[in-house]
């Protein structure tokens, strides 16, 4: 595993008595694309601002490359930020914007000129040196903001919902651009977003946050396929989250029907939550599956049909390329390894997380 670059230790932060971050511990490794994902108000931006130096934690420490930088001013940190609203200097042209950090560091004119050229090429804006920020589109402005940050050769680039203000098509293009940039630069990206699709597309490592706590972290595949609690399951993609009973190892009773699964170690007759992704629900002819149901809605979504099936008193969300008719009597069947079993929230605090969504 790559070397650890940033470590947040027991970081807490509150504003006006509202706890934003509570005893947060987070470790970020060199040369990784880390996304902090969560709904608005979950503390993700505050976490980024603490790393960037724009906020000081009430408690805890920020360690950067082995050094405590908790109280270091932003201008003394070896990292740069790309802000949500671009934050370009409107009184300077593009070249001057990009040169800003280098001029502060007293680099030579020749060096600065080379860097501007290199950075503009990297973000596909060659020839834009003497344009003013106001004359650029949102996507172009964001590219300039990225260029302005990376010419300083930071070890870490912080990105605060940088694609939030762009339209869908542009956002998707920029996602690929960012992956390419990250690979070309070979530095660490810490990306903050509320968009789960963005997170899944770009990240090596996702940190899901809610209410100031880290809910789960891991690779995109792990977060998607093995959510640790109902919040993560619900926030990442569509899902069927159902209260169930773990009858014994590898057997779970969902809505009165016994399904085989692959999970063990929950004990005998333990209440659990199960997550089943819509694309993992199979509709089979009556009598061939586990739970009988009736199709209540069918919508064509392009790639697949989105269907709702009433079964065992629950509206199952089903994605399938094979269409069923409304009113069809079907059975629901799920492959054992597609049933993700999770512990039921232990405290009311955790329960609140679920209700809040």
């Amino acid at each position: 595993m790559a070397k650890e670059l940033i470590r947040l230790e027991h970081v807490s932060k509150s504003y006006d008595g509202n706890m934003i971050l509570d005893d947060l511990n987070l470790s970020i490794h060199e040369n990784s694309f880390v996304t902090i994902l969560g709904p608005s108000g979950c503390g993700k931006t505050t976490t980024l601002r603490i790393i960037g130096g724009f906020e000081t934690p009430d408690q805890g420490r920020v360690i950067f490359d082995g050094q405590d930088i908790t109280n270091l001013a932003p201008n003394k940190r070896q990292l740069n930020t790309v802000f949500q609203k671009y934050a370009l200097f409107t009184h300077m042209d593009i070249a001057q914007n990009i040169a800003f950090g280098l001029k502060i560091k007293n680099k030579t004119d020749a060096y600065i000129k080379d860097k501007i050229k290199y950075a503009l090429k990297l973000v596909n804006l060659e020839g834009f040196e003497h344009r003013m920020p106001d004359s650029l589109s949102g996507g172009q402005q964001q590219r300039v903001a990225i260029a302005r940050a990376i010419v300083n050769e930071p070890k870490v680039l912080l990105l605060d919902e940088p694609l939030g203000a762009l339209d869908l098509k542009l956002r998707q293009d920029m996602q690929y651009e960012l992956i390419r940039l990250k690979n070309e630069l070979g530095i660490t990206f810490i990306y903050v977003t509320h968009d789960q699709e963005e997170a899944l597309t770009m990240s090596d490592h996702i940190v899901v946050m809610n209410q100031g706590y880290i809910q789960q972290e891991g690779s995109p595949e792990k977060i998607y396929n093995e959510p640790e609690n109902a919040f993560v399951a619900d926030f990442i993609g569509d899902s069927n989250i159902i209260h169930a009973t773990m009858v014994q190892d590898k057997l779970v009773r969902i809505l009165g029907a016994n399904f085989s699964c692959v999970d063990t170690g929950f004990g005998i007759n333990t209440p659990v939550d199960v997550v089943i992704r819509p694309e993992d629900v199979e509709l089979v002819p009556r009598g061939k599956g586990t739970l009988p149901g009736k199709v209540s809605h069918v919508i064509f979504k392009g790639v697949h049909y989105e269907m709702e099936v009433e079964a065992g008193g629950f509206e199952w969300l089903v994605h399938s390329t094979r269409m069923a008719q409304v009113g069809d009597e079907v059975d629901i069947s799920v492959d054992p390894f597609n049933i993700q079993v999770m512990n039921v929230p232990a405290s009311e605090d955790e329960e609140a997380i679920e209700i809040d969504v």
């Binding site: 201008n75 740069n80 609203k85 934050a87 009184h91 800003f100 502060i104 003013m132």
Partner: protein, 272 residues
Amino acid sequence: MFNNRQTSRLLASPYIAWAVIFIVVPLAMIFFYGLTDESGALTFANVAAIARPENLKSLGLALVLALISTIICFLLAYPLAMILASNKISSQGIITTLFILPMWMNFLLRTMAWMTLLENKGVINGILSFFGLPTINIINTSAAIVIGMVYNFLPFMILPLYNALARIDDSVINAARDLGANAVQTFFKITLPLTIPGILSGITMVFIPALTTFAISTMLGGSKILLIGNVIEQEFTLSYDWNMGAGLSLVLMLFIIVNMVVTMMTDKSSNS
């Protein structure tokens, strides 16, 4: 019925009538009086009268005092506007009220209040002598006029500066810090340049009324100190020489126009 243009023309007509009667016509009359003699013959003598030593002295003094007042206003207003725009001060409302409140009082009343404060046997000297301190002789001096100008025109500097500063997004300041600039560099490279339009309009809003005032100089400068405004006023009210008064007004107007053109050009170049 009406199309849009007709409707807006109709709605604008009361103001247009007002503007023609009370702005365009008087301006035309100033030009007429300023460029003619008593018999109505064309002459540049009234305008040229600015070259007389006593008039030049008044104009020079007015320019100097207006400049000093503008600089003082700027130096007082900028930090205050920064505090107001920062939003971090919970007493923002109180500060705003403190600066707006005097503006609700009549301009002449405010200036008269300064007379009572600054008089040789006035409030300030009263307090000084109560504590056995030497009294100051400030009424009827240029300093008193500057105090009056700064007091009266300061809000006109604060408001445009506040507007310009409030428009700067926090993230722009953060970006500068993020790119390695310390607080001082951030101020001179980002904050100050971004507020140039506000600074220019603040300067115009203070400098022009300060340059043309005659009420403040009359009340706080006594009859000893004549600014160009006083000279023009006296031509109209004492000498009844409307031609001379109008001629000198035209010279003053030239200074105002130059100031505005310079402001507009600087504003444009800072934006492009």
